[in-house]
Amino acid sequence: MPMLSFNNYRLSEKIFVVFVYVFLFIFAAICVFPFLNVFARSFSPEFYIQQGQVWLWPVKFTLNTYVKIFQARGIVSGFKNSFFVAVVGTTINLFMSFMIAYPLSRKRLPLRTVFTLIAVFTMLFPVGIIPLYLLVKKLGLINSLWALIWPYAITTFNMIIIKNYFQTIPDSLEESAFIDGAGELTILFRIFVPLSKPVIAAIGLFYLIFNWNIFMPAVFFLTHPSKYTIQVVLRDILTQHMLEDQLPFEQSAMMTQAGPQGIQAAITIVAMIPILAIYPFIQKYFTSGIMIGSIKG
C-alpha cells in the first residue's frame, strides 16, 4: 500500500505508477482472455466456433452444451464425490499441515533439522504410482474416496509456507502463553491459528483447488463409476462425445447445436464453478494486511 498520495510523488515516480497500472492491466487481460474465450465457447453453437467467430462473447447464445453435460450420467454423483473429497480432504490437509508446521517452526524442537529434512526430502523425491497403488490396496482403500485424501494429506510445499509464517510470529506471545500455563496445543489452536487467518485462507484455497482437480489418482484408485469424482466424469463425457455424435448438425439446428469444442469449453467451466464460487469469500483474507498489522501493534 503506497504510503504517500500520488500528488506527492516525483515525476519519475508518477510515470512509474502509470506504467504499473498499464502493465497490470495488460497482464490481467492476457490472463483473462482465454477464459472469456472458453466462457464464450461454452455458450455458443459448434458451427460458429468452427468458423472461428467466437471470441470473447457467445455468438448465438445457447445452453445446449450445458444441457448435454447435465443430462449425462454421473454428474450428480460426481459432484457429490468431489465435494466430499474437497471438504473433508481440505480439512484434513489443513489440520495435518498445522500439526507439523507448528513444531517445525519452533527452534526448541528436538531433532528439528532431522524432521525438517525428512519432510523437505519428500518434495524432491515423488512417490511412484505403482508402490502407492500397492500401498493403497494393502490399506484396503481401493475404490474409496479416502484413497484420494490420505496419500495426499500433506503437501510439503504448503506446509513450509505455514511454518515460515509461524516463524514470523513474535516469541513474546508464545512466552507469555507458557507463563500463563498453556500447553502446546493450546498455543497452536488458541493463538497461532487465529493469527494465521490469511495463511489459512491462502493455503486452504491451494489445497481446495488441488483436491478439486485430482484426476490421475482418481483414475487409478477408483474402480466403480459411482465413486468417480467430477473431473473423471467430465473427462468421460468429453471422450464420449468425441466418439459419438461428431457434429451431425441439421441445417435448422446448426444455429443451436452443441458440439465437441463447445462441450469441452462448458466442461472447463463446470469443473471450475465451485472453486470460483468460493473464491470471493476467501479473497478478502488475502489482501487484508490488517490481521497481520495487529500482531505488530
Partner: protein, 513 residues
C-alpha cells in the same frame, strides 16, 4: 485442551476405522466374487441393463464386481495394474501389446484345460483363425474378439468427382491429380478456396493407403508392418520405399493438397474437417460412412456421397492396413473355472435371448419380434428413425464388452436353434448399407496383414523408442525437412536402438515359409 486431545484421538481412531472398514468387504462363504474389467467407450448404467440381469439370473451365486476402465484412461491404468499384479478375474486388453508380459508375469492363466471343460461355446463360435491371436508358446491365454480386422478402406467424395467431371482414380498418379483437383478446382462449387484433397489424422495416421502404393506402410497407429523380402522377415519402417513414400507425401503436403494443419489434428478436428465439407479423400472404416454421409446431408450438402473405392495402385503395391490383432479377454486365474463358465455363457443362445440382443455395442436391436427374437435396425432405419440414437446409446451403456459380435459368421455355431442362427446373421446383413457392403469387400480384398502379430522379447526394450522415433522422422520428412539427412539419422538410430535385435528375433519366431 482436553477437547483438542479428544479431537486428535477421534481423528486417529477415525482413520483407523476407515482403513479397517474399507479393507475387504464382508464375504459370505457361499458366494463367489468375480471381478470383471472391460473398456467401455462411454460410462452408463450397465448394472440395470438386460446384459447384467441375464448374467445374474443364471449365476445367482456370483457376486459381480464391475471394474470398468474408461478407454481414455486405459493406456495409463493398465500397465500400473500389471506392475502391481492386481488384475481382475476377467479383463480385456490389447494382447498385441501385452500378451508375452502377461504370460511371463503369471498374470494370464492358460485356458486350454478349462476351455475344454466349460468353454465350448467360446471355442465353437470363434471367428476363423482368431483364436491363434491369443496363443503363446503353444497354449491359449486369451479369447480374442471376433470382429473383422480388415476394416479400413479408401473412401472418396463421389459427388466431387461428378462435379469436376472426373473418373474414379485408380493409379497413384490419378489419385494425385484428383487430390489436386479437389484442392484447387472448387469441387463443392461454393466459390471458396477451402477444400483439400486429403488429410492426416495427427502425424501420419490414417493415410496408409497412400503408403501401400509404395509397398510399405506405417500400419494402424504405426505399429509397423513386417513382410518377407528376399527370404527374410523385414520391417517396412526401414525400407527405401518408405523414404520414397514419405518424400512423395512431403511433395503433396508442400503442394497444399493435404490439409496443412492435419499433422496435429486430434479426433475432433479430423472428423470436423470432413464434416465441414473440406476434404475429399478419407481413409477410414466403411462402417462410418453412413454417419458421414447423413451428417453432410443434414448440414446442407444434399449430394454428399463419400464412397469406398480401391486404394491407389502404385509402383510397388496396393493395399490398406488391417488392425493387426483384435482386443482380447484374459483371465487372471482367480476363480478360473467359474469365470470362464460365466464368460462362456455370454456366447450362448440362451444368453442372447435373455439379454434381448443387447450384447454387441456396435449393433443396436430395435425391438423383439413375436418369437421374442431381437430385430436389429436396418441400414435405412438407422438413418431415418429418430429413436435410433437413443436406442444405440442404451445398448452402448448397458453392455459389457465380450468380443462376441453379430458380425462374426461363426457366432451361432453352437446354438441349437438353427432358425434363430439364420435369423441373427440375416439381421447383421440388414445393418449393412450400400457403402458398407462395398467397403467391407474392398477392405477384405486389399487388407495387408503383417507377418508379425505378437511382440518379441526385444520389443519390451526397444519398441517404444523405435515407434516414437519413426513418428518423429516421418512427420519431419513430410513437413519438409531435409529427407536425406533425416532418413539417414533414422537408419542410424534404428541400427543402434534394437532394430537388428528385433529383426533377428522375429526371424527366429516367425520363420519364412
Amino acid at each position: 485442551m482436553k477437547r483438542v486431545k479428544i479431537l486428535l484421538l477421534t481423528l486417529c481412531l477415525f482413520f483407523l476405522a476407515t482403513v479397517m472398514l474399507s479393507a475387504g468387504g464382508g464375504q459370505e462363504m457361499e458366494t463367489v466374487t468375480i471381478r470383471w474389467m472391460w473398456l467401455p467407450e462411454a460410462m452408463g448404467d450397465f448394472e440395470n441393463g438386460p446384459f447384467v440381469a441375464a448374467l445374474q439370473e443364471k449365476f445367482p451365486e456370483v457376486d459381480f464386481q464391475w471394474e470398468p476402465i474408461l478407454y481414455s484412461a486405459y493406456k495409463e491404468k493398465f500397465p500400473v495394474l500389471m506392475a502391481s499384479g492386481d488384475l481382475p478375474d476377467i479383463y480385456r486388453t490389447n494382447s498385441q501389446s501385452y500378451l508375452p508380459q502377461l504370460v511371463d508375469g503369471n498374470l494370464a492363466a492358460a485356458l486350454d484345460d478349462v476351455l475344454a471343460k466349460v468353454g465350448k461355446d467360446i471355442v465353437g463360435n470363434a471367428r476363423d483363425g482368431h483364436l491363434a491371436f491369443g496363443q503363446y508358446g503353444g497354449k491359449q491365454y486369451a479369447i480374442p474378439g471376433s470382429y473383422s480386422l480388415k476394416y479400413f478402406a479408401q473412401n472418396i467424395r463421389m459427388d466431387w468427382l461428378d462435379n469436376l467431371g472426373m473418373p474414379v482414380p485408380v493409379t497413384l498418379d490419378e489419385f494425385r491429380d484428383t487430390a489436386r483437383a479437389f484442392t484447387f478446382n472448387d469441387p463443392d462449387n461454393n466459390g471458396k478456396d477451402d477444400t483439400y484433397g486429403t488429410a492426416f489424422r495427427q502425424n501420419i495416421n490414417f493415410i496408409d493407403s497412400w503408403f501401400h502404393a509404395f509397398g510399405v506402410a506405417p500400419n494402424h497407429h504405426q505399429i509397423g508392418i513386417w513382410r518377407v523380402r528376399n527370404g527374410k522377415q523385414t520391417n517396412d519402417w526401414v525400407q527405401p520405399q518408405m523414404k520414397e513414400a514419405l518424400m512423395y507425401l512431403a511433395d503433396m503436403y508442400e503442394e497444399g493438397v493435404i490439409h496443412p494443419e492435419s499433422l496435429t489434428f486430434d479426433w475432433n478436428q479430423w472428423w470436423g474437417a470432413y464434416l465441414q465439407n473440406k476434404i475429399g479423400m478419407w481413409y477410414h472404416q466403411p462402417r462410418r460412412l453412413s454417419e458421414m454421409n447423413s451428417a453432410l446431408k443434414k448440414a446442407g450438402v444434399a449430394e454428399a456421397k463419400m464412397w469406398p473405392i480401391a486404394p491407389p495402385k502404385g509402383p510397388y503395391g496396393q493395399g490398406t492396413s488391417d488392425e493387426g490383432q483384435p482386443w482380447s479377454v484374459f483371465f487372471s486365474g482367480n476363480n478360473l473355472e467359474k469365470s470362464v463358465e460365466v464368460y462362456n455363457y455370454t456366447y450362448t443362445q440362451e444368453f442372447f435371448l435373455k439379454a434381448k440382443g443387447q450384447i454387441d455395442y456396435a449393433f443396436a436391436p430395435k425391438e423383439l419380434n413375436e418369437k421374442g427374437w431381437p430385430v436389429y435396425y436396418t441400414y435405412d432405419e438407422a438413418l431415418s428413425d429418430p429413436n435410433y440414437e437413443e436406442r444405440r446409446k442404451e445398448v452402448l451403456y448397458s453392455s459389457i464388452g465380450t468380443g462376441w459380435t453379430i458380425e462374426n459368421p461363426n457366432m451361432t455355431n453352437t446354438w441349437p436353434d438353427r432358425d434363430l442362427a439364420k435369423h441373427v446373421y440375416q439381421q447383421f446383413l440388414n445393418t449393412l448399407g450400400g457403402a458398407q457392403i462395398e467397403g467391407n469387400e474392398l477392405a477384405d480384398k486389399w487388407a495387408v496383414t503383417s507377418s508379425k502379430t505378437v511382440p518379441v522379447p526385444a520389443d519390451a526394450k526397444y519398441f517404444v523408442n523405435l515407434q516414437s522415433m519413426f513418428r518423429e522422422i516421418a512427420t519431419k520428412i513430410v513437413s519438409g525437412k531435409d529427407a536425406d539427412q533425416v532418413w539417414n539419422e533414422w537408419l542410424t538410430f534404428y541400427k543402434a536402438n534394437g532394430g537388428p535385435e528385433i529383426e533377428k528375433e522375429v526371424n527366429e519366431l516367425i520363420p519364412v515359409k
